[in-house]
Symmetry: C2
Subunit: 343 residues, 2 copies
Amino acid sequence: MRTEIATLGEFGLIKHLTEGIKLENESSKYGVGDDAAVLSYPDKQVLVTTDLLMEGVHFDLTYVPLKHLGYKSAIVNFSDIYAMNGIPKQITVSLALSKRFSVEDMNEFYAGLRLACQQYHVDIVGGDTTSSLTGFAISITCIGEVDKAKIVYRNGAKETDLICVSGDLGAAYMGLQLLEREKAVFKGETDAQPDFSGKEYLLERQLKPEARKDIIERLASAQIIPTSMMDISDGLSSELMHICSQSNAGCRVYEEHIPIDFQTAVMAEEFNMNLTTCAMNGGEDYELLFTVPITEHEKISEMEGVRIIGHITKPELGCALITRDGQEFELKAQGWNPLKKTN
Amino acid sequence: MRTEIATLGEFGLIKHLTEGIKLENESSKYGVGDDAAVLSYPDKQVLVTTDLLMEGVHFDLTYVPLKHLGYKSAIVNFSDIYAMNGIPKQITVSLALSKRFSVEDMNEFYAGLRLACQQYHVDIVGGDTTSSLTGFAISITCIGEVDKAKIVYRNGAKETDLICVSGDLGAAYMGLQLLEREKAVFKGETDAQPDFSGKEYLLERQLKPEARKDIIERLASAQIIPTSMMDISDGLSSELMHICSQSNAGCRVYEEHIPIDFQTAVMAEEFNMNLTTCAMNGGEDYELLFTVPITEHEKISEMEGVRIIGHITKPELGCALITRDGQEFELKAQGWNPLKKTN
C-alpha cells in the first residue's frame, strides 16, 4: 500500500505524523501546531544541539530500514545532550522528502522516532516537513536541561586526569562494513554470501544505537562530575584530540585498555582490518569519552560499563597511543569526516 | 578565487566561519564548539522554531546571491519568533553542501547570516556542517524568549476581533516572478529584456525580507497583546484559515483593505495577474497577521504600518473575502505548498 504524500499536503502530513503526541515533560509547555514551541526552564540551563543528516552521505536506504533511521536520528542528538552531562527533553524534527517517499514510509520513520522519544522521555515539540528534489534530509534539534553546576564541557581536562570510555568501540563501524558487503552481494558485485549469524551485535550497534543515559545516571549516583566529556561520533582518536586541544593538554591512551567486543575482533580479522584502527577511528559508537580527577580512581574503576583507557598529560607531550608492545604512536584524526569524504 | 572546502574539512570550516563570533545576549552562555550550546532562561519562556530550506525547492541559486540567502534564512526564523510575540535570541545553523560550493561561497552565506544576526541582536550558538550529494540544504533553529503572560498563539481569536496585517502583501511573490522572468531571458527562452528599474522594492521583498520586530515593539508600547498572531509565509488566505481553524472561528476580510504596494499593482498588471489573488496567496511576505479585541480599535487604527483588514466571526460563517463589489468568496489556501508542488 502506497499513499502519495501529495494527497495530504504539508500541513496534513505534519498533522498525521504528530497526531496523538502527548507532552510528558514539565518543561514542554506547547508543542506542534504554532509558529514556535514554548518551553519553560526556570531552574536549569538549557542545552541545544542540532544535526543534519543527508541521504547518501549519512545513511543508505538500501540497507537502513526507515524505522531504524528514525530511531537513530533521535538517539544521535540525545547523545550530544548527555555528553554535556544533561538530560534531553524536547526535539524538533524537520524533514525534506523527494517524491520517492510515501506516507507509509514516513509512518515508519516516525514510528522509530517516537519509540526513541518514549524510551528516553523526550517530547516532539515541532518541526517542518517539506520537499526535496533528490533524497531525504533530516534535521533534528534537541533541547535538554542541566544544573548549572553540573555542565561538563570539552575544555576542562587537567594533567593526571583519568581518561574513560563507556561501552566498547568499533562495533558500529564493523556493522557498517557488514552491511556494505551485503549491498555489494545484492548488486552482484561479489559472490560472498551475507551471513549475519553471530554478528547481530554489530548490526544493532550500527542500525539501532543507544545513547548512554545510564552512564550519566551512574556518574550522578557516584557524585562524579567529569572534568571534560564528549560523545564518540567521529571516532575515539578524533574526539580525544578535540578534548586535548580544547583543554590545552596532551594524553596517553593504552591499546590494551581500549574496550572492544569479541564480535568486533572476529569481524576485523575476517575483513583483514587492523582492530585497533577500527576501534580508534570507526566512529558512530555514541559512547561517552570523559575525564575524571585521579582521586576518583576507585569509584570509576568499579563503575559498570566504564573503562579507564589512559590519562591526561602536559600539552607538550602531545596525544599518543601506547601499543601493547610499548611503542608510542601520535594520534591522528582519521575519523569519519563527511566533508572530506565527498568533496 | 576558489578554495575547496576539503582543504579545511568539517571542523576547519566551522571554525573558519564562526571565528570572531561574540555572544551578545545575556541568555547565551556558551556557543559554538561543544556538543551543545548552553543557554539560560530563568525568567522567560523559551520559544523554539526550525526551518529546513532545500535548494531547488525553496531557493534558486541562479538568481539568489548567497549573501542574501544567508540573510533571508535567518530572517524567516526570526519572523516565527516575533509571531509568538517573542524576541529571537539565538540560532543554530546546519548546512549540507555539495562539492560545487567553495569556502568563498560559504563566506558569502555567513556574511548574510551574520548581518541579519547583528541587526536583530541574535547570537549564532551552534550548528553542523556536512556534505550533500546534490545541492545545498540549510536548517536553522531559532530560540527566543517571551514573558509567559505575553505569548500569542494562533488559537485565541474571538468573534468581533479585528484582523490586522502589517506592511503590504504580494510584493515578494511579484519579485519572484520578476526573477523567474530574468532567468528565462538568461536561458534564451524568451526575448523580453529584464528591466528592474522602478521594481527595486519587489526584488528587495523577495531577496532581502525583514522580520517585523518594529511591529512587536509598537504593540508592546501600545500595551496591546493580540488575541492571535502568526507570520505570513504561505500567503494571507492560508494563514487566515489556520487562525480561524485553530481558534474555532470564521472571518470576513475586505479586498479594499488588503494593503498592496504600488509596484506590486503595476507588476501584476504587466504580468496580467489578478492582484488580489497575488496578495492573498503570494507568500513569503513575512508580515504579521494578528487579531485584537475590537476595544483596541482606536489604538490599532493609529498604529503605523498596520492595517485592519476585517474581523473574526462565528465559525458557522466560514472564512470569506468580500470583494470591492460586495461579493463574498470563500477563502481557499492556494498558498505556496512545497509538498504539493513537487510531489
